[in-house]
Every structure is written in structure tokens, then in C-alpha cells.
């Protein structure tokens, strides 16, 4: 039966063209339009939206990164200048205190020196007075002794 259909029959066979061909073509064209509206366009829209979203987010992130970098540089700069200012302040204060210390020291030394000088002068004058007194006393005593000796003779 099969072979009969394959070879001799007026219908059937592998190369049996009929209205299947145009109807199938029509069907495929319809399928193209249906798939276009149900599949290609919506999916394309979603994919392209995502692509633009990704590009946008990426450029945004890049911009933010740049911003962060410039901020970081700025802060580093600020930190550096602040550190320098602090350093300067510290050294100024050190110099100030050093100067004050020296001033106070010289003042105190001078004062001490003056006091010592005055004390020495006092001592000197008192000693001189005492010497004078002693000398006067000794002279008086000598005179007395001489007088007594002379009187005794």
C-alpha cells in the first residue's frame, strides 16, 4: 500500500504540493505579526529600558566616584593645611613659652643679683661701720690705756 502511494498514486508522496503551502505561509506571516506584538516589541522594550538604565546608573556611579575622588583630594588638602597650621601653632606656642621662660629667668636672675648686690653692700657698709666703731673704740681704749699708764707714772 505504502509503495503504491509513494510511486503510483495520483495523490500523496513527498513532493505533494497543494493549498498547504500558501496557507502555511499565511500562518507564518500571522505568527510573525503576533510574535512581534506579544514577544519582540515588549521584550525589546524591557531589554532596552534596562540597557539605558544600566548605562545611566553606570554614568551616575562614575560621576559620583569622580565627586568622591575630588572631595577626597579636597579633604586631604584641608587635612594637610590643618596639620601644617597646627604644627606652626605648636612651634609658635613653644617659642612663646620659651621666650617667656627666658624673660622670667633673666628677670629673676637680675632681681636676685640686685638683691645679692644690695645685701653685699649692706654687709660691706655695716662692716665698715663696725670697723670704724671698733677702730674708734680701740683708739679710745688705747688713749685710755696711755692715759692710765701716764697717770700711774
Amino acid at each position: 500500500m505504502t509503495s503504491l502511494l509513494l510511486f503510483g498514486a495520483t495523490e500523496g508522496g513527498l513532493f505533494d504540493f497543494d493549498a498547504t503551502l500558501p496557507l502555511m505561509a499565511l500562518q507564518v506571516v500571522l505568527l510573525t505579526f503576533i510574535l512581534n506584538s506579544l514577544f519582540f516589541r515588549p521584550v525589546g522594550r524591557v531589554v532596552e529600558e534596562r540597557e539605558s538604565y544600566v548605562t545611566l546608573t553606570r554614568s551616575e556611579a562614575k560621576r559620583k566616584l569622580e565627586e568622591v575622588k575630588s572631595l577626597e583630594d579636597d579633604l586631604k588638602h584641608q587635612l594637610k593645611s590643618a596639620r601644617q597650621a597646627a604644627q606652626k601653632l605648636i612651634s609658635d606656642a613653644e617659642q612663646d613659652s620659651d621666650k617667656l621662660y627666658r624673660e622670667a629667668l633673666t628677670l629673676a636672675t637680675n632681681e636676685a643679683n640686685a638683691l645679692r648686690e644690695k645685701a653685699r653692700k649692706d654687709i660691706d657698709s655695716q662692716r665698715d661701720n663696725a670697723f670704724d666703731q671698733l677702730r674708734a673704740d680701740a683708739e679710745k681704749l688705747g688713749d685710755l690705756i696711755v692715759d692710765r699708764l701716764l697717770a700711774a707714772k
Binding site: 505504502t2 495523490e11 498547504t20 496557507l23
Partner: protein, 241 residues
Amino acid sequence: MGFMPFVFPFAELEVGQHLYWQLGNLRLHGQVFLTSWIVIGALLALVVVGTRKMERDPRGVQNLLEFLWDYIRDLARTQIGEKAYRDWMPFIGTLFLFIFVSNWGGALVPWRLIHLPSGELGAPTADINTTVALALLVSLSYFYAGLSRKGLRYFEYYVHPTPIMLPFKIVEDFTKPLSLSFRLFGNILADELVVAVLVFLVPLVLPVPVMFLGLFTSAIQALIFATLAAYYIGEAVEEHH
């Protein structure tokens, strides 16, 4: 009308038999339409399920659909070019999906279990009517693509680098659909026949690698058909300078 170089002596193997439907005075191959409707239904179901709730972070079937979309876009873009591929992507994609699902459906679904009064169910692409229909659509498309984009300048293509090419290019217009349709038809039918014969001769184990080979061939044929269709359209819309 029918013609085969040799005859299979197996009653189970029905080659060239069709389930005829009469529509007015038109005769149709019913089994082809039945399976093609199943194929189209499966495709539409997949598409409807996958696009029902699409999100920016794809989930489930949407992933598969986006993968397919991306694959088809790459195919269309590389063959047709950046300028015109958007117009033709749905057509190329439909060809690819329809042929691919038809081929795999024919190879994977045990159609044999469903008995028809005459003929048997199988891949729609194993019927010459289907493949010729697809190939003629491709021919029409590339003519339309070329004419709509370049007007009558399209025919410069026939004398493009030299007028000596004219006869060859004219012959090409006939060989393109011929080779497209026969390549697909031959591969899919041959695959079905080889599997059927092997199953008949050695029902165990041996047909399995051939079935895998058939799946591979089926996928490759869908890709080849879509790629060539896109290439022909690309050739027609390409600008020569």
C-alpha cells in the same frame, strides 16, 4: 506525484502519506496543520507566560525569553547590519523559533502514539509545503527589503561589481529558495526516517545517539535557515559604493 528512490518494506513507516482535509476545493495536509498549530500554540503560550509580568530584574520564563530575544537580535544584527535589523528582527526571529520548535517537537514528542486515519504526525518542517512556504517568504522579504530601502536602485545589485554577474545573480534568486527549502526539508525528513528505521530494526539503545544527533541537526537547521534568511535580507539592503 510521489517519488522515492527506494521503498521501505515496513508497513509502519508511512512516507508520503497525508491526512487530507478538503476546504472548499482546496486540499490541505491536515497532519502538518495539526502539528503546526501545536507548535504555534506552544510558542504563544511560552511568550504569553513569559511576558505577562515583566520586570527590570527578570525572573523565570522572562529570562528565557530575553535570552532568545538577545540571541535573535545578535543574529539579525550581524547579518543585516545596524541600520535595518530592527525592521526584520521579528521575521527572522519568527522563522527561527517556528523552525526550531517544529524540529524539536518532531524529534522529542512521541507523535507516533497518536493514530491518524492516514499519514502520521511529525515535524511540520518535514513537509515540503512548509519549507517551500518559508523559503518563498524569505524570497519575498528580501525583494521587499531591497526595493523598499533602495527603490529601483536595488537592481544595481544584479550588475554589482560587473554586468557579467547578471545571469548568476538572476539564477541565485531561484536557487536561494530552492536550497533553503530543500536543505530544511531533507534534513528533517531524513532525520525522522533514520530514527524510524533504526527504531524498527533495533528498538533498543541504538536509536538514542541518532536521536541526539537529530536534535543537534534540528537546532542547526533552524539556525542555518534563520541566518541565511537574514543574510539574504542583509545583502539586499546593503549599500554599494
